[in-house]
């Protein structure tokens, strides 16, 4: 029943042979982002149009039949979500962006039949205004080092054979058939890889701690409960390279002696759940997982479990409680999961990205892995780059890359509300989500790694990078995160449960104009208390956004508190709209919009606002077509 060890090579050879029959390959990005933009319709249009054009097409590679000249497939997230749906044509190396189903006929006719490029669908550099033919010419991709994400966006995530054809499961097979568990732990320790989920704990040490526990039942868990608002790296990896995650889990299982594992995925990620489930089933069918892994007689079963919506379950002890069918509440450490985890058994929990990196380390060796990144934080890291940047999406860079490179070279610069580039618009970047902190202009040249960020009061977190332009109110931002953590606090520790609530109330006082010096003092004191009095990472880091904005944008807090003024003009309660006489055309729109009749003026003459009548609703600011009404007082 068990397939022989050579199966991987046979599968790879058969797949390669079949794929060589296709002269061209059309890859349509099938990440959540592109699907939301209509990638599925584009896919169908390709299948239809290719047939109409008289070309033979194949959607599924089949070794046994002689099939067409064009292979059409979906891929995982290609990263450039904002420009989706993305379509790549290989081997021409063309990347088409924002492809609509009605564009497909033209692509088929021009590119697939005549071998020409459809210029209007190419990416246009927003700064240089040049057309970029493919990823090699697009700055967004040029500056990245894609290793973990290498397969995402190229390979069909639902085809195990393609993964195998690209050296997939070779590292896992080596781990099971050639390497001793202690050798694997040693190699991983040597590589210096640190947990990508946020804490940055050395993965090798975690494994070794679990390995040395007495033999018996052990578990390996993949933490795919990516909860940081503004982060989607793990989703993209699970959707784009599910087999790599499984391979990483297999190596972890072998290293610690586990025979069962769980992949815990957020319920908000239905596509990731579906792809992980299919990948596990396919691996089982090929004898890669199951009762006799690679014919070694060793057993490994993996289960995919869907979360039910609780941010705190990203905390390992809470996640374990959730798998056991309880409320996801963290428990004190020690004992660490390595000693007593799932159902009291030694357990290794690793983040998705960490696990997806493991096969790379075994394949390239620890020394080669260390060549990228910094001394204390080797390797590369994926980041979800979002917010007010020209190019949002999923990126991967070596540790030690500066924020300037990420925001300006890859991200293409800071944008205004209307999407145009504002060369001086940079205000801050929130890194690490609600547990992290903000980085400002002075940190633009700081090489990013686990330790440098901790040094400035922020953290890598799972890798969410939200860029903010100068019109963002940092106090409102801090309040937003506090509202999030307050909402997600599980309620176990008093200081987290009540403290976050009080901190939120204090921040409300500040943005609504009820605060004084005392508010700031209590806020700071309470922040430190919550950090100290909470059991898990959620509470310990919940005050970080407040503390870091207080540190870098204290003047902004003080403007809210003492002058009752929001410098960014975002806090509605502090708004006193004013009409700029030079810009006002006297169109009368604001006059008609104002619900309390506070605006007066003759037609075609500058209007004025009666501050006594104004209720600060902001309706006039939104209504004005000439940006003549400013929100903030000067």
């Amino acid at each position: 029943m068990t397939p022989p060890v050579t199966t991987l090579e046979q599968t790879a050879a058969a797949y390669k042979q079949a794929s060589e029959k296709a002269a061209r390959r059309v890859v349509i990005c099938g990440g959540t982002g592109c699907i939301a933009n209509g990638a599925l319709n584009v896919f169908e249009a390709f299948v239809e149009q290719v047939a109409t054009a008289g070309l033979e097409a194949a959607v599924v590679l089949n070794e046994h039949t002689d099939h067409g000249s064009v292979l059409i497939s979906m891929s995982g997230c290609q990263g450039f979500c904002q420009m989706g749906p993305l379509v790549t044509v290989e081997p021409d190396g063309i990347l088409y962006t924002r492809v609509r189903p009605e564009d497909v006929a033209e692509i088929v006719e021009a590119t697939l039949v005549r071998g020409e490029v459809v210029d209007r669908l190419l990416y246009v550099d927003p700064v240089e205004h040049t057309h970029c033919r493919g990823t090699a010419e697009i700055p967004f991709y040029q500056r990245q080092t894609r290793t973990v994400l290498a397969g995402c966006g190229v390979m069909d995530p639902e085809d195990i054979r393609e993964y195998i054809a690209n050296d997939g499961y070779v590292a896992a097979r080596r781990a099971f058939t050639e390497l001793k568990p202690e050798t694997i732990c040693e190699e991983i320790t040597l590589s210096g890889i640190r947990g990508r989920g946020g804490g940055g704990f050395p993965t090798g040490r975690k494994w070794e701690l679990t390995r040395i526990q007495p033999e018996g039942k052990k578990y390996v868990i993949c933490n795919g409960d990516e909860g940081d608002p503004g982060a989607f790296m793990d989703r993209s990896v699970m959707e784009g390279a599910p087999h790599r995650v499984i391979e990483g889990m297999m190596i972890a299982a072998r290293a610690i002696g586990a025979d069962e594992g769980y992949i815990y995925v957020r319920a908000e990620y239905p596509l990731a759940v579906a792809r992980m489930k299919k990948a596990v089933a396919d691996a089982q069918a090929m004898g890669i997982l199951g009762d006799d892994v690679f014919g070694t007689g060793l057993k490994l079963d993996l289960h995919v479990m869907e979360g039910a919506g609780a941010f705190v379950c990203g905390e390992e002890t809470a996640l374990i409680a959730s798998i056991e069918g309880h409320r996801g509440m963290p428990s004190p450490k020690p004992p660490f999961p390595a000693q007593s985890g799932l159902w009291g058994k030694p357990t290794v929990i690793n983040n998705v990205e960490t696990l997806a990196t493991i096969p790379l380390i075994l394949n390239m060796g620890a020394a080669e892995f260390r060549r990228r990144g910094t001394e204390k934080s080797p390797g590369t890291k994926t980041f979800a780059l979002t917010g007010h940047v020209a190019n949002t999406g999923l990126i991967e860079v070596p540790f030690g890359t500066t924020l300037r490179e990420i925001i300006f070279d890859i991200g293409g610069g800071i944008t205004r509300k209307d999407g145009s580039i504002d060369p001086d618009g940079f205000k801050a970047v929130q890194i690490g989500g609600p547990s992290g902190g903000c980085l400002t202009e002075e940190h633009l040249d700081l090489p990013l790694d686990f330790d440098s960020l901790r040094g400035v009061g922020a953290m890598v977190g799972s890798g969410g990078l939200v860029a903010m332009n100068r019109n963002t109110c940092m106090v409102a931002m801090a309040r937003f995160f506090m509202q999030f953590t307050q909402n997600e606090s599980c309620g176990k520790c008093v200081l987290c449960r009540e403290g976050t609530k009080q901190m939120l109330a204090l921040l409300d006082d500040i943005v609504e104009g009820r605060a004084d010096q005392g508010t700031l003092d209590i806020l700071e004191k309470l922040a430190v208390a919550v950090q100290k009095g909470s059991l898990c990472g959620l509470g310990k880091t919940a005050p970080n956004p407040v503390l870091s904005t207080l540190r870098h944008f204290r003047a902004e807090y003080e403007a809210h508190v003492f002058q009752k003024r929001c410098p960014a003009g975002k806090c509605k309660a502090l708004l006193t709209p004013e009409i700029c006489a030079e810009l006002c055309k006297g169109c009368g729109l604001c006059l008609r919009t104002c619900p309390v009749g506070a605006i007066s003026g003759e037609r075609k003459q500058p209007h004025v606002i009666d501050a006594a009548k104004c209720i600060k609703c902001g309706a006039c600011v939104a209504a004005c077509k000439f940006n003549a009404i400013s929100g903030a007082t000067s």
Binding site: T32, G33, G230, A231, A308, L394
Partner: protein, 173 residues
Amino acid sequence: MMSAIEQPMNSSYATTRKFEKVCEILDRNGRDPAKLIPILQQVQDEYRYLPEAVLTYVATSLGVPPARVYGVATFYAHFTLKPKGKYVVRLCNGTACNVKGSMDLLEAIKKRLGLGEGQDTTNDMLFTVETVSCLGACGLAPAMVVNETVYGQMTPEKAVGVVEDILAKEASA
């Protein structure tokens, strides 16, 4: 189906009949208390919410205190003890969506559907409007999901347009 659940249960025969689906789900999961979360997820898929009577029934069947089942059902954001509308509109309020104006979408949709302060579901049970912490579609901020369909790079006008389309479809159905 929902109204059947809310009726008082008299005979044991009727009880078994009413909970036939629940029994099927329990059996599928081997009546294992560790599988409580998947069980509740499948029950909610079936009823679109977790009726109180079902929670008690699940607790008894698994041999655990009802308090534990209730605790789990109220802890996780995905479980709801109130019936939801036919179309569940989830507005992402993750960081990226928030800075790109997701709250304006919420206001616009609630206004179009006539939902007041603290009201999530329309009286005709057609729509439930809620915010979620992050959909992981940050590259498309602000994002919105209606049942399973993701809509990206929304504006208040586009969001209301999606709602209008559904209303039109329902009116003609």
